[in-house]
């Protein structure tokens, strides 16, 4: 998986990183369908430019940039959706596959994290990026990435503690 230019290996590559990419794209969208549109556009764009797959920071930066464009392009719709979903959180499609109540609670706690912390957490835990790569993808410093990650974990632990 050194170079992603070959048309033979994109499926195996996408099978491996697809779920993480999709989860990352879901940070900006309310529906899995929109996230899939973003991931499709980003992945094809990345692939066509023959970037190396190990340049993960660039791949995630591409997803982020397309997601932000998507929001700008579809501002009116996003605003309408945000209003609707703010009133009915239960209708948000699941971002994780969980089997029990504990995991369901953990997934819900992740969804409640502030956006900047959740973004770093998603890249670190489910996409296995280093802080250096996260910093590159998000355009922040490594220290900021690391501290956002720590805050995210601390907030999660706090929210999962029994009252």
């Amino acid at each position: 998986m050194d170079n992603i230019a070959s048309h033979e290996n994109w499926k195996s590559c996408f099978s491996e990183i697809g779920p993480g990419l999709l989860l990352f794209a879901r940070q900006w969208t309310r529906s899995a369908a929109d996230a899939e549109d973003i991931v499709q556009e980003a992945f094809v764009k990345f692939w066509r430019r023959n970037h190396r797959i190990n340049n993960r920071a660039l791949l995630y930066a591409t997803v982020r940039s397309i997601a932000l464009d998507f929001i700008r392009r579809d501002k009116r719709r996003a605003r309408r959706e945000a209003t609707v979903f703010a009133d009915a959180d239960s209708t948000v499609e699941p971002q994780f596959e969980w089997e029990d109540e504990a995991k369901s609670a953990l997934a819900a706690a992740v969804s409640c994290l502030p956006h900047d912390q959740r973004e770093v957490l998603v890249l670190k835990i489910w996409n296995e990026l280093t802080f250096s790569e996260i910093a590159g993808a998000l355009g922040i410093s490594q220290n900021t990435a690391a501290s956002r990650y720590r805050y995210a974990l601390a907030n999660l632990k706090k929210s999962l503690q029994p009252q």
């Binding site: 048309h7 994109w10 499926k11 996408f14 697809g18 779920p19 993480g20 999709l22 989860l23 899995a32 899939e36 991931v39 499709q40 992945f43 094809v44 692939w47 066509r48 499609e93 699941p94 971002q95 994780f96 596959e97 969980w98 504990a102 995991k103 953990l106 997934a107 992740v110 957490l121 835990i125 489910w126 690391a146 720590r150 974990l153 601390a154 999660l156 632990k157 999962l160």
Partner: protein, 184 residues
């Protein structure tokens, strides 16, 4: 750093939702489309490159000359407006070489001279219509020729690297190509 190992393990145990199979199909289609586009485009350009005729060459030369004349006219207009400023050359020689830094030495020309240099930044030719005008016979020849008429939009761009200013000349053109048709 790692103050929350258990929590991290629990988080890793959560599996992100998998992409739908439809997404794979959609990406595959996009990949194929992208491949087709690039192949078609390169095939068209190679075909065009190797079907040069003297007639078409003449039209191309005329178009290029017109573009240079337009550029020179534009620059001389600017020169008239700003008599105190010197306009650098926009000659064919500069089109193939990077712009050299302006001299600020003994000639008395100051650094601002380089701000008037334009270098070619791109040229495109978009074929927006192709018409087959049928077969015809050249005088004294028994071999039929197919007459194709291309309507194109040509665009030439120059850029001033020091100021970022750019100049674009775009004009429609028509080209007629005669292709010998071999008998079966």
């Amino acid at each position: 750093m790692n103050d929350f190992p258990e929590l991290e393990n629990e988080l890793r145990a959560l599996r992100p939702a998998r992409p739908s199979p439809v997404l794979f199909e959609r990406i595959e289609e996009s990949m194929l489309e992208a491949g087709k586009t690039s192949v078609a485009s390169s095939a068209r350009w190679s075909w065009r490159r190797f079907t040069e005729t003297p007639y078409r060459f003449g039209i191309g030369l005329a178009a290029a000359t017109a573009a240079v004349v337009l550029l020179l006219a534009r620059i001389s207009t600017d020169q008239t407006r700003n008599e105190d400023k010197e306009i650098a050359q926009v000659a064919p020689a500069s089109e193939t070489r990077p712009v050299l830094p302006a001299f600020s030495g003994g000639s008395g020309v100051d650094g601002s001279m380089s701000s008037n240099k334009f270098v070619p930044a791109g040229a495109t030719q978009v074929v927006y219509n192709t018409r087959n005008e049928g077969l015809q016979f050249a005088a004294g020849s028994r071999q039929p020729l197919r007459r194709l008429r291309y309507q194109t939009q040509q665009t030439w761009q120059w850029r001033n690297p020091s100021t970022g200013a750019s100049l674009r000349v775009s004009y429609p053109s028509e080209e007629v190509v005669l292709i010998p048709v071999s008998g079966q």
